[in-house]
Symmetry: C2
Subunit: 439 residues, 2 copies
């Protein structure tokens, strides 16, 4: 072995013959406590009461049997029930999944960490999910003085690639309490229109360079190949040029059809509908194209009767996922868990209140908060049976802070359904029942 390359670096040499290398002093219990304390942020010495009372370990029948044979893919356990639920806007809240123009929501209250499983990523479509053959699919880029160019998927797969984590959030996520909302709503009902994935694709700037993007292009139309032909005007601003991507992969694999297979636009931080799925066309312009999706559909009707257009960036948001609507709380230790995000960049801080916003304490952000990605936050809590109003609020690195419902209503009234990012409140009653507080 040379000095510069090793197959078993130094630590293992001493272990090579099975000799334990730990100092004879063994483990200091105080160190465990100190480590646990640093891990759980102030919970040193707290005890989690065991509820099971079980004495047996695992199922003896399992240990005496051969298991299932290996296979090409590994399905979920039949004990795990995870599914999106379909819903609509305020006028169509009861819509079922057999409607074409609809959405289905991610079960955020049942998930862990920050990555959304690809098959549970929320979907929003205006004419169902098209079935596209990647060998037939093409992307046309044109407009102004650009050389019109058609790319096949094979062209795109060969190009330089980028990979990053990013959330996509429907502009309508969280709207429910803008109207008069029911107490039985779950976190999936109120905040299931956001999901986070690791995306891979071609940097938008690379495509623009390939076609010779015109100097005077300030906007770009992006159009989908679905029956509805959803198209949106994209401002070619700093953020779009820095982060925009023609994404063909999600969480390591090709996009799922419900998320745009074989190609979608990814614009981290911008409202979901701009991240055009089944992308077939980009066209340069010097002003917005004013498609129906931005003059009718995705506008915000203000109290004075005028509508805001092009409210494009997703404001800071957060939701407590445990405990949340329709859950039943048991007394004792509870780890309050939730998700926070901002279209403007990284989450800087998440505060949690147990009393409806009177007092706030900082939650712990698990790992590193990534730009335009959901982060997981946690706060240990000992629930002793008192009534509580649980809230979280996100503060991003640019200082934007989630507002209260009153603050939003005072400015925007209650007409719109898009970009309602108010603090969500879960009511805990003394029996442990958790409900949506219309506040």
């Amino acid at each position: 072995m040379t000095d510069t390359a090793s197959t078993r670096p130094e630590r293992d040499d001493a272990l090579a013959l099975g000799v334990a290398t730990r100092p004879g002093t063994g483990i200091d219990r105080r160190r465990f406590v100190a480590r646990a304390a640093s891990t759980v942020a102030g919970l040193a010495g707290a005890s989690v009461a065991l509820r099971s009372g079980a004495q047996a370990t695992s199922d003896p029948a399992v240990q005496r049997a051969l298991g299932e044979q290996l296979g090409g893919t590994g399905a979920r356990s039949s004990h795990v029930e995870l599914a999106r639920v379909c819903g609509g806007g305020p006028d169509q809240a009861e819509l079922a999944c057999d409607i074409y123009s609809n959405n289905s929501k991610t079960p955020v209250q049942s998930l862990f960490g920050t990555v959304t499983p690809s098959d549970l990523h929320f979907e929003r479509s205006h004419s169902g999910t098209p079935f596209i053959d990647p060998k037939v699919h093409r992307l046309l880029v044109h407009g102004l003085s650009a050389k019109p160019t058609v790319f096949s998927m094979d062209d795109l797969y060969r190009m330089p690639s980028a990979t990053r984590m990013a959330f996509i959030e429907c502009a309508g996520n969280g709207w429910n309490n803008w109207k008069e909302a029911k107490p039985e709503l779950t976190a999936q009902d109120t905040h299931g229109l956001i999901s986070t994935s690791e995306w891979t694709g071609v940097p938008l700037t690379f495509i623009l360079d390939q076609v010779g993007a015109p100097k005077n292009a300030t906007w770009m139309l992006a159009e989908g190949a679905d029956g509805a032909g959803v198209d949106r005007s994209i401002p070619l601003d700093e953020a779009v040029l820095r982060d925009g991507m023609l994404a063909y992969a999600q969480n390591g694999e090709p996009l799922r059809p419900t998320n745009g297979y074989p190609l979608r636009l990814l614009l981290p931080g911008y409202e979901g509908n701009m991240n055009i799925k089944w992308l077939r066309r980009l066209k340069f312009g010097t002003e917005p194209f004013n498609t129906r999706w931005e003059t009718d559909k995705y506008t915000d009707l203000m109290p004075d009767g005028k509508a805001r257009k092009f409210t494009l960036v997703q404001d800071p948001g957060s939701v407590i996922t445990t405990p949340s609507g329709s859950m039943q709380l048991d007394k004792g230790f509870v780890e309050i868990r939730g998700l926070a995000w901002s279209g403007y960049g990284r989450v800087a801080r998440v505060d949690v209140s147990l009393d409806g916003g009177e007092r706030w304490r900082p939650a712990r952000i698990v790992g590193e908060a990534l730009p335009q990605s959901q982060c997981r936050f946690v706060l240990p809590w000992e629930w002793t049976g008192q009534a509580a109003l649980l809230q979280s609020r996100c503060i991003d690195e640019r200082g934007h802070r989630q507002p209260t419902r009153d603050q939003i209503v005072s400015v925007q009234g209650t007409n719109p359904i898009y970009h309602y990012n108010a603090i969500q409140t879960w009511r805990v009653d003394p029996t442990g029942k958790v409900t949506n507080a219309y506040a």
Copy 2:
């Protein structure tokens, strides 16, 4: 709206009535080029030749039709073929999936980014996959002076949680070229026994604190609930105490049964078999337990006839996934893509050689290299039809570097099958055929 909370931060106010805020000068093409150059690391001005020659954009039939209705989960496109393939060690390389003690390998050559889809995470089992009811499953923690304690899954779900990215790598990953290997091997064949996920679970230190881990405990037995009852001795060293986790979730959802549902040990950086699946028992001790899995199975037979035991940490590794074995290369721009990792921490650098190791150039690591996680590396290449020998080598933050095959063989001979982390070589012949080079 108050000064401290905003629903539409400053940027959007100017856009509120649809007024474009971009400076009238528009986009500077030189900026695109500069951006593209910084994105693709030295490819400024390079052109990716279009191969399709297609003039049509997308399929008109798709645009005239309604798509599929929304649903609870979104399946893969039928155009996407992704599956693990089953294989064995050198004496059982032709094993099919209908054998219980076997492995199935991740299709690394067909994936993107760093996250492995949960259903494609490699599997290795010694008696198939047990079907476990989480309501019945228990974890027993005992040994030495510890208070014997039984935890239900509900107990564990309530506890403080941790989330992190980590790879798990079978100790046998990459062994093929240690023996005389066939040229038609793919990257899945040679390096499909490693996968990366975002894991969530209870910090090991929290459990140790709960049961009162004895001061003199230096080792811990971890035992699975499968028929084989795989059990391994875990050194309670710094890395285990810092990073160890009782994981119940993977990529946002509960573990898949093939990955240990409902509970597995996660020991980032340690050989895969120590990350005990279907975890049912932890027992403290003052020395290794010398189970059959560490005296017979997972040892390294050296040239002098003695066997190394407890070679626990996964050394630095890497593999080029595009182009790789059995692929056909077309002339023109190629983005060389691969994965690199180290059990010792972060990947610091990845070098790529086009000539079998004569000259090396640094690849670009995409995003941030996380500790004990796979990172994606890329290097732009213009292939003009010359023969080439493609190699990558990983250098981690502690300075460990991947060795050549000769370096490993000079020390360890060719008896072992575990911990072969030599540089992988793909041969490109002038016709563009890519094969495994036995080197």
